[in-house]
Structures are given as C-alpha cells and as structure tokens.
C-alpha cells in the first residue's frame, strides 16, 4: 500500500488482488439475499471506497485496521442502501478466507449503469483500462490525448463513479 500510494501500479494491483477475494467471502457470507451479482456490486463499492480513500491510511499505522474499518463501514453502507441492515464485526474480516474464484464471471450490474451515466469520454477511458486492459500510453494514443491528461481523466472519472454509485443505487 505504501508503494501504491507513491504511484506503484504493479504493487497496488497485487494488493487489490489479495484483498478482493477476502472481502468477497465476507460479503457473500452476509448477502445471500442479494445473489452473486448483488454481492459483486457490494464488493465493487467497497473496492472503490478503498481506492478513493487510500490517502487516509497513515503510513506509520498498521494497514489491516484501516482496511477493515473502511471495508466494514462500506459493506454496512452498501447493504443499507440496498435495503438490508447487517451487523458486522472486525473479526468477520480477520477470519475471512478467500472465496474460491470458480467459473463464476464475477460480474456486477451496477457498474454498467453508472458507466452509462458518466461522460462518454470518461466512461471510454474506464472501459479501456478495465475491459481492454489498455495501458495509459495506449489509451492516450487511441484518444489523441497526452498521457498526463489520461491519468487525470481516469482519476476524476473514478471519483465521479464512486459518487454516482452512492446516489444511483439509493
């Protein structure tokens, strides 16, 4: 996370890939009523929150308590706006085991809804990174933008996405 906050995308991606399965199993254990897709939506909410709030982790403090606090807050919040009240303790995360990946496509529905509400160019950039696995340079070349502009546009798009999800799902 320290490396990630300094802009190391590879380290950050590795961290997210470690966190996501653990969070998925916690969400699934609570969210039978939401179905797999619903749970995946909640998980994506949580991951977006971790991303947009990553600067609130103080580097000298341990990472886990921060991570669990953010995740717990967001999971409870995500269930609340989907009409479910849940109780969740920090231990649920500490004891969480990674959910098996399986053949499940792990697809959420909300993201598409929110992407459609985004400005077309911003949505295009997000899709470029997500679905096509583009690099900053590739996106920049495709859209005729500078790499810096792509980075800033992506950053803004993610902030807007996080805000929109909150509003649209309610």
């Amino acid at each position: 996370m320290r490396a990630a906050n300094r802009g190391d995308a590879v380290a950050y991606r590795r961290l997210l890939h470690v966190i996501a399965p653990v969070l998925r199993s916690v969400v699934r254990a609570r969210g039978h009523a939401l179905g797999h897709e619903g749970c995946e939506d909640v998980l994506q909410d949580v991951l977006l929150a971790i991303h947009t709030k990553r600067h609130t982790w103080v580097e000298t403090a341990p990472l886990r308590p921060w991570l669990y606090a953010i995740a717990r807050h967001k999971v409870v919040d995500a269930f609340r706006i989907r009409g479910q009240r849940i109780e969740l303790s920090i231990e649920d995360f500490a004891e969480g085991v990674a959910a098996p990946q399986g053949p499940d496509p792990m697809r959420g529905r909300d993201m598409e809804k929110v992407l459609r509400a985004l400005e077309p160019r911003a949505a295009d950039i997000v899709r470029g990174f997500g679905l096509k696995g583009e690099t900053t340079a590739e996106t920049a070349a495709r859209l005729g933008m500078s790499e810096g502009a792509v980075r800033v546009a992506l950053h803004r798009a993610l902030k807007t996405l996080a805000r929109l999800r909150e509003r649209m799902i309610e």
Binding site: R6, Q44, A49, R54, V58, G108, L131
Partner: protein
C-alpha cells in the same frame, strides 16, 4: 463490469491524492484570514487591545485558541480510520471539564446574581451572534478538508469540526470584545461555541458521508 477488470482500472489510477492534512493546511489559513478581516472591517479592534492582552483578559483569546487546536487534532484523527483517537478525545474532554469546573467555581464565588449581572448586557447578543457568524468560513473550510477523509462517525466529526471553528472564531472575536468579566466570557463564549458545534453536528452527516 467484472471485478477483476475494476481492479485493473483502480490500479491504473496512480494520481496521488491530496491528504486531509494538506487540504486543512490549504483551506484553514484562508478561512481564518477571512474571519479576521471581517472583524477588522466590520467589528473593529477594541481600543485597549494592548492593555487587554497584557491582563487576565488574554484568556478570552488563549482559551478558545487552545480549544480549537485540541478539536482540530481530534477531527483529523477521526478522519483517518485505524488511528487511535482516544487520547485526543480525552484531552478535549479534560479541557472542557476544566472549563466547566472554572464556571462552577466562579458561580459559587459570585452567586446567581453575579452571573445575571455579568450577562445582562447588550454585548451578550452581539457575542452569541458574532461568534457563529465568524465561525462559518472556518467551519466550511474544515468540513471541506474533512470530506476527503473517511470518518466512521460523520455526526461526531461534524460536531468536533464545529467546536474547532467556534474556538477559532471566538479567538478572533475576542480582539473586538471588551467585556472582560469572566462570568460573561466563559458562559457567553461557551454557549456560542457549543452552538457552532451543534451546527457542525447537523452538517456532518450531509458533508462527511462517503
């Protein structure tokens, strides 16, 4: 979109984020300068400011300033999940308790008559109105800075932000206020600051949710 794809998107966003502290450092000086300028322009400094700052009346300036610093420390801790905030809440709590004890001692010394004597002055209304008004820029700046944080208790964070803004505003206002009776300043300033705290508590859930 698949979650794995989302992770790729998130990892690609490497633009560094502004920390809550740096936002605070950016916005607070501006807000306090606005409040100070308002006092200079519309309220005016008390003519005997030098003499007042050399007497016990300096407490009217120092005590709210200390309160503002303690509340700012707590508000910042609350905006960072995983940071322990208990020491900072205790410091703020002890400070408030000391003020309450001081008020009780003064009341015992001068009785209810002393309190009403000190408070029945047109300055009370001016004080109760001015401090919240002068606190608004500071409260706005603080909430803006804290909104980039991740408080788990928006209402509490808002209230603490309000105490901070109220303290800062009372510090600035004390440069105008020429009522030096402790039984005026202590209850009057406290009530005004608590009111700003209440405003903050009301605004917290609106601005600090994430």
């Amino acid at each position: 979109m698949k979650t794995d794809d989302l992770l790729s998107v998130l990892a690609a966003d490497t633009v560094p984020q502004q920390t809550v502290d740096s936002r605070m450092l950016r916005a607070l000086p501006v807000a306090i300068a606005i409040s100070a300028a308002a006092v200079l322009l519309f309220w005016g400094l008390r003519p005997d400011l030098d003499a007042a700052l050399g007497s016990a009346a300096v407490l009217k300036t120092v005590v709210p300033a200390v309160l503002a610093v303690l509340a700012a420390g707590l508000a910042l801790a609350l905006a960072h999940p995983g940071l322990r905030s208990d020491r900072r809440s205790m410091a703020l709590g002890l400070f408030a308790a000391a003020l309450a004890v001081a008020l009780v001692i003064l009341m015992v010394r001068d009785g209810l008559a002393g309190l009403t004597n000190a408070l029945v002055t047109p300055s009370l209304a001016v004080c109760l109105l001015s401090i919240p008004v002068l606190a608004l820029p500071v409260l706005g700046a603080t909430l803006w800075a804290l909104s980039s944080g991740a408080t788990l208790h928006p209402r509490l964070s808002g209230a603490v932000a309000g105490l901070m803004a109220g303290g800062a505003s009372a510090t600035v206002y004390s440069l105008y206020c020429d009522q030096d009776a402790a039984l005026f300043a202590l209850p009057g300033y406290s009530a005004a600051i608590l009111f700003v705290g209440l405003l903050g508590a009301l605004a917290g859930p609106r601005f600090l949710n994430w």
